[in-house]
């Protein structure tokens, strides 16, 4: 029943051909087969946001995506967007503002914040809260994350 089946994806710009079982999630494929461990496995239920990646440019939960169902799609993980100017600005703002402690949630926060800022270059505090409401953080208390996203948005507008 759980026989491996072929799938072709583009991951961080590179074509990848794999054989995986039907019920394998994209998160498992990334972390366990491809050693791309930036996306984290928090809840595996779609609740925490630590596994957020983009599929054809749209932010999604890697834990709720089945690898076989992503046939032909483009996956970008935090590793693959490191050179993106928006990610650089966000990373700098997170570092400057102390917006991470353990860092477990950070890759997901960055991908979600990038998705937000790419649609709205001048978000209000409330819009940032809304945009990141699906990304839980057990450490920071969120305020510094929100401030960092606002500050990255400011720096990008300059």
């Amino acid at each position: 029943m759980s026989r491996d089946l072929p799938v072709n994806l583009e991951i961080n710009g590179a074509a990848v051909a794999l054989e995986v079982p039907l019920t394998e999630t994209l998160l498992a494929t990334l972390r366990e087969r491809l050693q791309l461990t930036g996306a984290k496995r928090g809840c595996n239920q779609g609740v925490c946001g630590a596994c957020t990646v983009t599929l054809d440019g749209v932010a999604v939960r890697a834990c709720l995506s089945l690898t076989l169902n992503c046939e032909g799609q483009k996956v970008a993980t935090i590793e693959g967007v490191a050179a993106d100017p928006l990610i650089e600005a966000l990373q700098q703002a997170f570092v400057d503002g102390g917006a991470l402690q353990c860092g477990f949630c950070t890759p997901g926060q960055l991908i979600a914040a990038r998705a937000l800022l790419s649609q709205n270059s001048d978000p209000s505090v409330e819009e940032v809260q809304q945009g990141l409401s699906g990304n839980l953080c057990r450490c920071t208390g969120y305020r510094k994350i929100i401030d960092a996203v606002l500050s990255a948005a400011r720096s990008m507008r300059k």
Partner: protein, 286 residues
């Protein structure tokens, strides 16, 4: 690959129906947000999946010549939440979509997947019942349509038979008036503890109101008797009575989101708040 494993990608509704008929153990996958969470929790272990992603007619929102709307089953919550053309009494559908989960989950989940799953805590079911939407269903015998109030039948159960799928949600043309969806949840993005969906329009005979309560029982609760009380020129006693009737008809669960007793207490209060807000909005407009 053996012929009955893996992910099937039909290009048409007919093809999807015939795969489902041939493989009774295959499961449909739309956004996957619920289905994959269930796989991860080992609640289900499908042998084959039928993805609706490649069926063009299931994507997107189109306006009918009569001013009504067709929302394809694969339309993401994100797109309904962004739909500014749902005005007047239909605004509640857009509001309900915008309150589902969070931005990332709204990028994934679809209206067809949500209503087919029929979790009692979902936001669409009460909104679609209040809006008197019709659910379009495809089977080997063709298409049929059911009012939303008949589509939801029990806890996690719908009128869908085996080898059937939801193809679209139809909304009648908006009336001038107000559509409201209020959701009480523990935190932003959680399933509703209780929700209320309400449409109100005004005419010569006073106001006309339709209200449905969500997360208060196996299916959304809409009572003609309560709607009648809330229509015409209702006063406080009618509003209270309608709240009592809806609370009495509720069969809420006891769970982490709230006790059944708490949910019953919330029903009249949430109804009153939504009703008062809608009435003020209508008043401001006339």
């Amino acid at each position: 690959m053996s012929v009955d494993q893996g992910v099937f990608r039909p290009a048409s509704v007919d093809e999807a129906v015939s795969v489902l008929a041939r493989l009774p153990d295959a499961r449909l996958i739309s956004g996957g947000a619920t289905l994959v969470a269930m796989i991860n929790a080992r609640l289900i272990e499908p042998a084959a999946l039928v993805s609706l992603a490649g069926v063009d007619e299931l994507h997107g929102i189109t306006e009918n010549p009569d001013g009504g709307w067709r929302i394809g089953a694969m339309t993401r919550h994100r797109d309904v939440a962004a739909e500014r053309r749902f005005t007047g009494t239909l605004a509640l559908v857009q509001q309900a979509a915008s309150l589902i989960a969070n931005a990332t989950v709204r990028n994934m989940g679809t209206i067809g997947g949500a209503i087919a799953h029929a979790d009692p805590g979902l936001d669409y079911p009460p909104a679609l019942v209040a809006a008197d939407a019709q659910i379009e269903i495809a089977s080997g015998k063709g298409r049929r349509r059911l009012p939303a109030s008949e589509f939801f039948v029990d806890w996690y159960a719908t009128a869908l038979q085996s080898a059937e799928l939801v193809t679209a949600v139809h909304l009648r043309a908006a009336s001038d008036g107000v559509g409201l969806y209020h959701k009480l949840a523990r935190v932003s993005g959680d399933y509703a503890t209780v929700s209320v969906a309400l449409t109100m329009s005004s005419g010569v005979a006073g106001i006309a109101t339709r209200a449905a309560m969500g997360a208060c029982g196996p299916t959304p609760i809409l009572l003609e008797e309560a709607n009648a009380l809330l229509s015409g020129s209702p006063g406080e006693s009618e509003l209270n009575r309608a709240g009592e009737l809806l609370a009495a008809a509720a069969d809420p669960v006891d769970d982490v989101r709230g006790s059944a007793e708490y949910r019953r207490l919330l029903i009249p209060r949430m109804l009153a708040r939504a009703f008062t807000e809608a009435r003020a909005a209508i008043g401001a407009r006339t």
